[in-house]
Every structure is written in C-alpha cells, then in structure tokens.
Symmetry: C2
Subunit: 447 residues, 2 copies
C-alpha cells in the first residue's frame, strides 16, 4: 500500500534523477486534517454570471479566504491557492474567449495543489443552441486544464441548474478544499435539491445522523466509516460474519455499532429491516462492499460471474429498493454506491466486475428519480487506482502503470474515496442526485 | 504515415521477438474492398429478444451469411467471423447470466477480426428499474470484451428503442462488416427514424445524392469524399483558396466538384447558399475541416485560441444553422461533424482544440432535435489516433504511445473515419441522431 516511487522522486536526489530521465514527478497530495482551514486560500473569483456574488459571499462568510476579484487587464502576480470562474453568463462560442483570457493570464498564479472550479449551466438547461454549445464546450477546456496544470492542481466543472443556486455551497466547499485532493477533471450537475433547506453545522454535518457502511471492516469501507464518524455520524458498520473480529474493531474505533450481515443472503433485506425497527432508519447508506474474481470470459467460472454480480450489484439494488420501499432511509437521506473506472471503461479480465459496476451506474440513474420523491438522493463514486490491499496484489509493472496513468501521477488513498462520499452524503448536497463522480486523479482511462 | 512496427511484428522473426519481449502484437486490419461480401460470414445469432428474428432475416436475405443458431448447451467448435446477441429480452440482473454463458462458451469460436454486436434496450426506454439496470450493465460487459478478445475482434452495443427496429439494418450492416474495422467498444442508440422508409440500394446507397465535404483536399477529408463517391454520391469538395490545386485534383479524382471557400469568412454561409441556388440542396454535409494550434494555456496566443474555435466549432455551427434555416439540406439528409477523443477526454496542450471539439458534441446534441423536424440527422465521429500527415508530425515516442494505447494496438486509417461517416450518412440511418461515435480502436483514453 506504500508508493515508494512517490517518496523517491520527492527526495533531493530522486528529484534530480526523475528530472534528468523525464520520469513522472508526482507531488505528495495535501489532504484535509481536522482543525485545518476548510477552504483553500486565497482564491481568485472571476467571470460574470448569476453565481459570482454567491461565490464571493461564501468566502467572506467563512472568514478563511480572501476573495481576490479578477483583474483581467492587469493580472497580478500574487500566487493563489485556487480560482473560481463563473461561466454561467457565457451565451455563445465567442464569449468563451473570456475563459481563455482568464486562464492565459492567471495559470501561472496558481500555486501547487490549487483548486480550480468552473461554474456553468448544463447544456440541457440552456434555451438557445449557441449557449448550450458553448456550455458543453467548457468540458473540453476543464478536462484539458486538469491535464496540463500539473503540480497537483485539480480542475472541475460544476453545472448549476437554474433554481439550484442554493445547493452550490456544499459542492464548492468540497472542491475548494483539501478533501478533494484526488478528484480532478470531473463534471458535476447540480439540480434543485430533492429536500428542503437544512441548518448545517459545517464542522459536524452528520451530528445526530445514522450511517450504514457495508464492507466496513477494512480498506476503503473503514475509511468511509472513519470520515463519517469524524464528521459527527453514528456509523453502523456492516461486514460478513467471517470478518466479525475486524468488524468489531472497526466499529469500536469509530464509536459506532457492528452488524454482521451477508448482504447477498435471501433474508438480508429482512435482517436490515429488523435492525431498523430496533434502532431507527438511516440518513446515509453507503454500499461499499465489493469483490473481484478476475478471469477472461472463456476461463471464468459461472460462480465467479454470479458471485461478483450478486455482491456488487444485486445486493445494493435489493437493499436500496427495500430501504426505499419501507422508509428505511429518512427524508434528507443519501444512498451512495461504489462504481469503478472499470464500470465506465471496461477492463480486460474483469467482464464480471465491469458489468456489475456499469450496472451500479444504471442503479443510480434508475433509483434517483424514485428516491427524490422521498427526499433522498442516490449517487455513486467511481474510484480509479486506490492504494489498498486489493491493488497491492497487482503485479508490480501493471500496478506502476495503474498508479501513474492519471493527471496526478499517483494512486489515491482510501480517504480520498471517503471524503468524496462524505460530500455526496452531506445534508446540504440534496442538489446532487443520480451522479457518478470519479475519484481517480483524472485517470487517462475512460470511455 | 506508415506504421513500421505493425509490419515488423507481423514478419516471422518480428513475431517471435514481440512474443518473447511481451510487446504489443497488433494484427493488420482487414478492411472492406469493393466487390467483397458486405457482411462477415458465418455469424452466430443468439439471445432471446424482440430483434433476433430480424437479425436472422438480414443474413438470409443477403445470401452471404449462414446464421448459426446458438446452442448454449453443446457449443460447436466451428470457427465463426462474428456473433450477434439479442439481449433486449433481459429484464433483470440475473438474466445477464445468459450473456456470460454465451460468451464463455463461444469466445474461442470467434476467429480473428470477428465482429461482435450486443443488442439491447436503452435504460431510458425501460419501464422497470431492474430492467434498466441490467441493460445499463451491458456497457461494462461489451467494453470489457472489446478489451480482452484481442486478434482485432471488435465488440459493440447497439441500444434499439422500441419502434426503432426497422432502423437497425444499416447499423448492423456497418458493424458486421469490414467497414468498421477500427471501431470498437462503442455504444450506439437507435431511435425511431427521423425520416420515412426509403428503398435502399445497398451497393450504391448515395446514388443520385449530393454530398458536401469540407477540408476535402487531403487526409481524412479526401478519404471521406472517396468513400461517399465510391458509394454513389456526387461530392462537392470544399477547401480554402490556398489549397485550390490539391482541391481540384481531389474533386476530379472522385468525379465531383471543387468549391473554394473559407468557412470562417463572414460571407461563407451566403456563398454556400449561392452554390445551393445554382446546384441544388445537399443530402449529406460533412464538416471535416479542422486545425490544431497546440500550446499550454499560459503560452497560447489569443489568435491560436480564436482560430481553432472559429474553424472547428463556429464555422460548422454557422453553416449548419444556415443550411437548416434555408432548406440547404434535403429531407432525409445528414449532417456529420468531426469531434475528437480530445473533445471527450481533454488533452494536455490542446485546451483550444479540446474546447472546440467538446463544443462539436454540444452542437450535435443541440441541433439534432431541431434537424429531426426537417427529417435531417446530426451526428459526429470522434477519431482517436489516425495515421495522417498531422499525426506523422508528432514526436516518435508520443506517436508510438498514441498508436498502441487502444485495443487494436495500432492507429486507424483515414478510411476508417470515412466508412463510419458513410454509415451515419446512409439513407437508412435515420434512426441514428445526436450520437457521437468514436473511431479509435477503443482507445484507453476517455472521460
């Protein structure tokens, strides 16, 4: 689970060797720590749309960030830690020139590990063709900048639907913080929130809330439980009976409860309902449990196919459906699934896994409208290469390729997935529904 | 423009060297030639949905292919050249087992250069959640098989909307032929055709039809003109005044006409209308002209930004809009744009190009519904690494990486783009509208 090359190229002589040989030079990512400032600071706020004032208010309100108005004509040379460009005012292709002018003048002001966010209006919400085309074009700009700015700078595009302005804060706070260190080149759509406005404690957003995390005894699942607990949740940790000891340990380490459950069992939904009758419904449900059984299709056993589909897709579907059918998730609740880059791009030797993880995207898209009627959202993260026990087993050369084939030239950590899930699970994220967000450092792989 | 490595690994000793060293072993692609059988042969037809009979009829009708019914229990060992699995009958995750069973039993029967097509119902057209999830899961299966079957086998997923059954033939004939040699891992949606049924001459589908191709004096544009002319079209070749000589030569080589036009000129649309008043409206319009001016954003001149946006995005938009506004495209007509993998995934040093090519995707999606009202479709191809004079200028190592980072381990040829455009332009392709189809050998790159 350790990336020795990352340490090597960041040693004094390793840096020289890597430079001379033209090797990748990943930068150790700064990640959020409790007690640190919530947002990066200072940030340039630029552009001219319906959101620019709201963005500036966010910074003033937090007292942690000095908003620097963009002065396009005479660019300052003061280094910054981020930039927000409100492009919602762009109504045709020619007006995209403003984004060129801004990034051309300010790219070099962005310090290492900067956070860049472009705000737009989704093409499907634009009235006129020239506007929807220009807004769609922003994807190409954002994904290119995410590939070329280097130095661990991340760049995202957030499409904010008319009427979704109030739902923007939780997403801005995620993408302008160290929590999103391993998320880059992503396009997120915000719609009118499925739930009403809530008073949010930004330091402990999950206080008084109950979360369920499957596969929580180790790896990414444990990190999810830890982050949700850190942010105030009571976490019910689920794993199979065989992992009982590790599960108990995980649950007590986060001050939560342990629930042994085979999520593929015929009575899994009923068992979960029993638990809910005794302890109450959940506010956050994270379907993290997943397995791989890799083989090419000609060599794959029927059991390898079926078990992967059962754990990764059928179980989250059946449990989600049961939870929604029987008020197992409170209004304002969140269901979050774990898809994968393999589910997006397909993968050699993973036809079972990729099918299951593509199905998870289908699950999110199918259940999102239905859940919205109960004021619940359904979203997924799609991790890329994450440093876990699972990826540590990959042969060295393939592992090295997997690690480096992304804009940050390194694998992510379980906490990167967990922080992204915590954003989707946030009480103020009711405007994010039916989305799949990659946690992959902008992996080259895709479809 | 020559791929020496491809020749090398297909020489007797080159093959041994590549095998021993674990190097990529691309297979020279078989491409369609006039006079050859239209479809690969024989093909296994399997699955149980609403399309299986229609697929079998297609083969019987052409007299070129013997349909072999799938016998899942006792698989034959006879080699085949392709397979069609009708998965429209799959209504839940468990029924995906039928696809595992089929491909597990038959993967080894697929000869080199086989064509595999899975037919499904798009999730958005499914009534129940379990069905839409299972149908969405097919994407993961198809993209994985496309990556693992090797030996230049291609695999696609075609979602056929209820009511679009009659629109299937032109797509099946493309994806089950040698014309689609460099297209793999694609997902195509067929809807109810925008136009009425037409009597089709499958040998000369464009007979009596007028086509316009921009940037036609060389490279991909010339190949497009050649393929459309081969299939019966009268082609009007467009290029800038500076390319007049090459343009004249191109036009006469395809028995067409030359029209010099700067598509970014203020009066370009008016000039085109003049041409149309004299010679008649078009049935096929291909916006192929495009330029690159690569630099990272901080070093990019304003002119490099603007000229790329003007040629690649504003010109196709303005010309398409003018053509649609003034009946410049006949009912049953087709507008086809050229996007790019860079427009999908972004690219380092191509923020201008990627923005323009992402905008082209927006153009297709914005104009498709509007054009449909005039019985016209608007689609795009997105080429990956194609062997042209443009890509020949890329430094060797980067060029080699670009060539090999796809499931066919080689770059495509201009004719691969041209054949794909000819399919989209086909009189029987009225069910394909608003789509972006990659011609990239299933490049690893994506979003």
């Amino acid at each position: 689970m350790s990336d020795r090359y990352l340490s090597f190229v960041n040693s004094p002589w390793g840096r020289r060797v890597a430079q001379a040989a033209g090797l990748p030079q990943p930068v150790p990512l700064l990640r959020h720590r409790s007690g640190q400032a919530a947002l990066v600071n200072p940030v340039i706020v630029a552009g001219a749309g319906r959101l620019v004032e709201q963005v500036q208010r966010l910074f003033t309100a937090t007292d942690t960030v000095a908003a620097t108005p963009a002065t396009l004509k005479a660019p300052s040379t003061v280094k910054v830690q981020g930039a927000v460009f409100d492009a919602t005012g762009v109504v045709d292709v020619q007006q995209l020139d403003a984004l060129y002018a801004f990034f051309h003048a300010n790219a070099r002001r962005l310090g290492p590990q900067s956070r860049v966010v472009v705000l737009g209006t989704a093409p499907e919400h634009c009235q006129a063709a020239p506007q929807s085309i220009a807004q769609r074009a922003l994807e190409g700009l954002v994904r290119s900048l995410a590939k070329e700015l280097h130095r661990a700078i991340t760049v995202q595009l957030i499409y904010v639907a008319p009427g979704a302005e109030d739902a923007l804060d939780s997403s801005l706070r995620f993408f302008l913080s160290r929590r999103s260190a391993y998320v880059s080149g992503q396009v997120v759509r915000l719609e009118k929130p499925v739930d009403g406005q809530v008073a949010v404690d930004w330091n402990a957003p999950f206080a008084g809330r109950r979360a369920l995390v499957t596969g929580a005894s180790r790896g990414i699942g444990l990190a999810i439980a830890q982050v949700l607990a850190r942010d105030g949740a009571h976490v019910v940790c689920v794993d199979v009976p065989q992992a009982r000891d590790a599960l108990q340990q995980a649950a007590s380490s986060v001050g939560g409860a342990a629930l042994t459950l085979d999520i593929t069992a015929a009575d899994a939904a009923a068992s979960l309902q029993d638990h809910i009758s005794q302890h109450g419904a959940f506010d956050v449900v994270v379907h993290n449990a997943g397995i791989t059984r890799d083989k090419t299709i000609a060599k794959m056993s029927e059991d390898a196919w079926r078990s992967v589909l059962a754990v990764n897709l059928q179980a989250p579907l059946q449990l989600s459906q049961a939870l929604l059918d029987h008020q197992g998730v409170n209004p304002g609740g969140r269901i979050i699934c774990v898809s994968s880059i393999s589910g997006i791009a397909g993968n050699l030797g993973q036809s079972n896994y990729a099918t299951s993880k593509a199905g998870v995207i289908g699950l999110v898209q199918a259940l999102a409208p239905q859940a919205a009627a109960q004021q619940v959202t359904v979203n997924a993260v799609a991790p890329g290469f994450i440093e876990t026990r699972m990826t540590a087993k990959i042969p060295l050369m393939i592992r090295e390729a997997g690690r480096r084939m992304n804009s940050l030239s390194q694998g992510g950590q379980p906490i990167d997935v967990a922080e992204t899930i915590a954003w989707l699970a946030h009480p103020a994220s009711g405007g994010v529904n039916g989305q799949v967000v990659r946690v992959c450092g902008q992996s080259l792989l895709g479809a």
